[in-house]
């Protein structure tokens, strides 16, 4: 599905002395089957933007369109099924006695029959490498395991777009690599992924396109290479190294991922 935000603005606490304009005129498209990263510092509006994608937050101006149709005309449950949102530290919302019960929550809320629910639960747990956790209590798991259970819970809805808000926060390197692999796997399966992240090096490894937010406005949007090489001071380390060398070695090109950067640098060393 194509998810579009057109000129979206959001003002918190409108009309009160605490009014805050978190988003200003944000226009953005999530194409089917791509990984779109949303980057920006604290206060840039990333999380606010993420919550507009399934209308948990409603724009105070502008509109959200799903395949060209105004998202406000869709029922809440349909929208939230098609656009799944995983919050930062999602494990804080685990509540059922077993992992499989918890993962089954969303499909059950959708009104699916038990057979389908069981199937969905198994599928999502498998995708997260968490099948062996099915009968365990979510409260007895390690941090990384809880994270996987929580994400499985949203994946079980079968969304067409999955929005992940800082999914690797607090994870150790192994768990983080697994998660990045999951994102690439989802893309292979045709699910679009919106990755909200402050970690540019992680974004470099998975993003097709990048949208940079600054103080609620879109400061840059395009392919990862376009956005990062457009402002190498705010770019992943790979891009920073390559852009420093491009002056004397234009042949390096515009690598973004680690592998391609390494290959480009090696080739340029003339070995």
């Amino acid at each position: 599905m194509k998810l579009e935000l057109r000129n979206v603005g959001h003002i918190y606490a409108r009309g009160t002395p605490f009014q805050v304009e978190a988003l200003r005129g944000v226009s953005l498209v999530v194409e089917p089957g791509e990984v779109l990263a949303i980057v920006g510092g604290t206060g840039s509006g990333k999380s606010t933007l993420a919550q507009h994608m399934n209308l948990l937050l409603v724009p105070t101006s502008g509109e959200v369109l799903v395949d060209g149709v105004d998202a406000m005309t869709l029922t809440k449950s349909e929208l939230r099924r098609r656009v799944g949102l995983v919050f930062q530290f999602p494990e804080s919302a685990l509540f059922a006695p077993t992992v499989e019960e918890d993962v089954a929550f969303a499909p059950r809320q959708l009104g699916l029959d038990e057979e389908e629910v069981t199937e969905r639960v198994l599928e999502s747990l498998r995708a997260l490498g968490a099948v062996e956790l099915a009968t365990r209590s979510p409260f007895a798991l390690s941090g990384g395991e809880k994270r996987r259970a929580a994400i499985a819970g949203v994946l079980a809805m079968g969304p067409e777009v999955l929005v992940l808000d800082e999914p690797t926060a607090g994870l150790d390197p192994a768990a983080r690599e697994d998660l990045l692999a999951l994102i690439l796997g989802l893309r292979e399966a045709g699910v679009s992924v919106v990755l909200v992240s402050h970690d540019l090096d992680e974004v470099a490894e998975v993003a097709d396109r990048v949208c940079a937010l600054h103080e609620g406005r879109v400061s840059a949007v395009g392919t990862a290479a376009e956005v990062f090489y457009g402002d190498p001071t705010r770019a992943p380390e790979t891009v920073r190294v390559a852009s420093l060398l491009r002056g004397s070695r234009p042949g390096i090109g515009h690598p973004v991922r680690f592998r391609e950067t390494l290959d480009a640098l090696r080739a340029q060393q003339g070995t």
């Binding site: 948990l56 939230r80 509540f95 969303a106 949203v154």
Partner: protein
Amino acid sequence: MTTRSLGQFYPVSSPVHALDPRAKIIATAVFVVGLFLIDSTAGLLFVAAALVALVAVSRIPAGTFLRLLRPVLFIVALTVLFQVFFSREGVALFEWGFLEVHSGGLRMGLFLALRILLLVSSAGLLTATTAPVALADGIEDLLSPLKKVRFPAHEVAMMMTIALRFIPTLGEEAEKIQSAQAARGADFSEGGPLRRARSFLPVLVPLTVGAFRRADELADAMESRGYRGGEGRTRYRELRFRVGDALAVALTLFILLVGILL
């Protein structure tokens, strides 16, 4: 997250706000006891006038203060109506079918209504002019002589302080969990009261479990910083009883005495 102060604290600066919390707590206690010793409407009216003056001095807007009284208006109305229609004291003023309104009933109704309003107002004034943290300090200090009879005054105070510290945090957490569950299709507005109550389980359970985990981490952090109960502890925040505070308590006593005599 925009809601700041807990409950009714209204943060402006005024002579009343500046008073030592202990003085205010004592004055409020004295006030409440005194109210029950006053037996004339005139006395209550006098005290009421003094209270109105006090609210003015404390720079709390009238509208804000009156809002504090809203929850009790129902009880007050009920009390007045009861007295007005069922008391047979004094001169009969008005008759309508079997309902009789006597002057005694009116007077009693007014008296009781005033008393309830004054009770709530005094508590309201206390919480509106005293920051929750200051209240906790004041209570700890006033309770500390009880340590001699093994009352855990320090522990109670520490619990209040920690509660004050974490209430906004838990509030934000509850909001966040609610949003996360909504994203999974949870609907909190559907169905009858029982169904709705159950729909909050996915919020209550993780919030509670999370609170316990927080408590564990906090306890570890406190111990790691050398906490071992109230023994040998000094206090950073200072409560200094000044002349003004003593005067405030004395003034309260005086007003009540006048009310009692009236």
